[in-house]
């Protein structure tokens, strides 16, 4: 299957000195839910705006369904739609907001009405009550849901959601996430969602992409940020409580943040023998999550106040021995800590 998007050497910056996006290679699948994770300021919103053709990029290539996109942006915008991080409504009624894109597409008036009501119902806004409300007569969560309804009504091929639940009430958050799942599973829409809701992503998404300072990392990657000091031939980072992690030395000042793929971390229930250049970190299990996309269990442990993740295959007998609060040992070679 052709990927939905293929990015190659894509660079984007708001200011001269700093690259906001620096993506050497990335492809995004055309079915199911793809998660986009990363700390604030890592470039998630910027990437989603590039993918929805709202923002130009400086250099590199971006293929959409296997084809170059230059010059076709406004045509593609008709099938790709983006829900802003702080979405907002046009100064008109809820009905007119949801109908706006449909009317632009010259949809039949009777169909406009049907689709508006259907979309509002899908996000839990009763059309009889909400369609005639003005834009300023809604709560924050209702604004977000009405804005989502305006996107769903368009029956998009690609739906990009930018932290859709970050600033809404709990009930709205659940309705929004449920609508996203329905959209992907029943309507076959490719849904790409930036979110901090990892448990939801582990359960629902087919793939998780991580971003860190504009670069792609594995989705569930551990980020060990700050506190690195050179010592001898290594870099050392200590955790509160006295444990330390070693990494291989790099040139100059690259050692500010490092990534550690959970797949590179082995889990043991008792402290193993220290051998060679291998880190052993002791901690307590915080939670276990089933990763639907890859048939594995992600083990999160509290190591001196920081959360570290390790990945265990679903069939591994070890899985049966793991439970919250259980003491575990994470084992990973110095060389698996990669500098970002």
């Amino acid at each position: 299957m052709t990927p939905l998007y293929e990015l190659h050497d894509l660079k984007q910056s708001y200011r001269k000195e700093t690259l906001t996006l620096d993506i050497s290679e990335l492809s995004i699948r055309s079915d199911g839910i793809t998660g986009l994770v990363g700390p604030n300021g890592s470039g998630k919103s910027t990437l989603l705006k590039v993918l929805s053709f709202l923002m130009p990029y400086d250099s590199g290539t971006l293929l959409y369904r296997g084809e170059p996109t230059a010059g076709r942006e406004s045509a593609i915008r008709r099938e790709v739609t983006y829900l802003l991080q702080n979405s907002f409504l046009l100064s008109r009624s809820v009905y007119e907001n949801v109908a706006f894109g449909l009317k632009l597409r010259r949809t039949e008036p009777s169909e406009v009405k049907d689709r508006v009501c259907e979309s509002l119902a899908r996000v839990g806004l009763d059309p009889a009550e909400f369609a005639s409300r003005q834009w300023y007569q809604l709560s924050g969560g209702e604004v977000q849901r009405a804005a989502l309804a305006a996107r769903l009504a368009l029956r998009p091929r690609v739906l990009l959601l930018d932290e859709p639940t970050a600033n809404v009430d709990e009930a709205s958050a659940q309705l929004i996430m449920a609508a996203a799942v329905t959209e992907a599973e029943e309507h076959g829409t490719a849904v790409i969602v930036a979110t901090h809701d990892m448990p939801w992503l582990y359960e629902m998404s087919a793939e998780i992409i991580g971003l860190y300072r504009g670069r792609v990392t594995a989705g569930a990657e551990n980020i060990l940020q700050g506190g690195w000091k050179p010592e001898g031939g290594h870099m050392i980072r200590s955790f509160p409580g006295g444990q330390t992690v070693y990494a291989e030395r790099t040139e100059a000042d690259a050692g500010r943040a490092a990534a550690l793929d959970p797949s590179d971390v082995r889990v043991a229930l008792s402290r193993p023998q220290q051998t060679g250049s291998v880190n052993i970190a002791a901690g307590h299990v915080v939670h276990l999550t089933l990763e639907r996309g890859r048939n594995s269990v992600l083990v999160t442990a509290d190591v001196g106040g920081s959360f570290l993740k390790a990945r265990v295959p679903e069939g591994d007998p070890l899985c049966r021995e793991l439970y919250p609060q259980r003491e575990v040992f994470f084992i990973f070679p110095y060389s698996s800590v990669r500098w970002l």
């Binding site: 915008r77 790709v80 802003l84 702080n86 046009l90 894109g101």
Partner: protein, 231 residues
């Protein structure tokens, strides 16, 4: 103070009997205001939209010019336009001096910067998310501009009403360019000036009451709009 009380009594008489001179003054004012407002909006809205929406070299300078025009005293506008449309002026052949059309030129110069400046700041102040929202819902080109203006509609109406308030209450350039000719170019404000000068308060008060009613109406509408834009 008897003459004032007397003036009020006569004023109501003039208004309720639809005194011919009073009515002609009102109609002239209406004609002048309608003509001026049409031109002010036709010029000011596109100018303001361009100033607020696009970035281009010289934009800052243009904004400064607009802001300066905002503060131009009406007699100076009167003087400048007079110089152009008097017999010896560049546009002398058009015989605009002492006509309603000539007066309209002064009012347009007075009102256009107001509408342009307000529209520019309204469009500039539009939420940065508006453009992205419109694009992602499929709008482009002229539709983008039209919806943006529509989003700013309350601010733009405020601009129009502010300009309207300024031009109906203005006396300096109307006097110089219209000449305050009875039955022809006499407007509410120029008539009040003249009648007061003559010591005839009745007509002055009658027209003054109308002017106050107009500003009251404008202000009520403006405060309604202000509440609307704050939502």
């Amino acid at each position: 103070m008897d003459f004032i009380a007397n003036g009020f009594v006569q004023a109501f008489h003039l208004l309720f009997t639809a005194d011919e001179e009073t009515m002609v003054i009102l109609v002239t004012t209406l004609r002048l205001t309608a003509l001026s407002m049409a031109l002010i909006l036709a010029l000011g809205l596109p100018m303001g939209f361009a100033l607020g929406y696009f970035t281009f070299p010289g934009k800052r300078a243009l904004c400064t010019v607009t802001d300066t025009l905002l503060a131009l005293p009406t007699v100076v506008i009167g003087l400048l336009v007079y110089a152009f449309i008097s017999r010896r002026g560049l546009l002398g052949d058009w015989e605009l001096l002492f006509t309603v059309e000539g007066m309209a030129i002064g009012q347009v110069i007075l009102g256009t910067p107001i509408v342009a400046a307000y529209t520019a700041s309204a469009v500039e102040g539009l939420d940065s998310r508006l453009r992205q929202t419109l694009l992602t819902l499929g709008a482009s080109g002229a539709k983008l501009a039209a919806v943006s203006l529509w989003e700013a509609r309350f601010m733009i109406l405020t601009a129009a009403l502010t300009a309207l308030g300024r031009i109906v209450g203005e006396v300096g350039s109307a006097m110089m360019l219209g000449g305050n000719i009875k039955w022809h170019t006499r407007t509410i404000t120029t008539a009040i000036t003249l009648e007061t000068g003559k010591g005839d308060f009745a007509l002055g008060i009658a027209l003054g009451v109308i002017l106050i009613l107009i500003s009251l109406l404008l202000n009520i509408s403006l405060s309604f709009l202000r509440r609307r834009t704050q939502n």
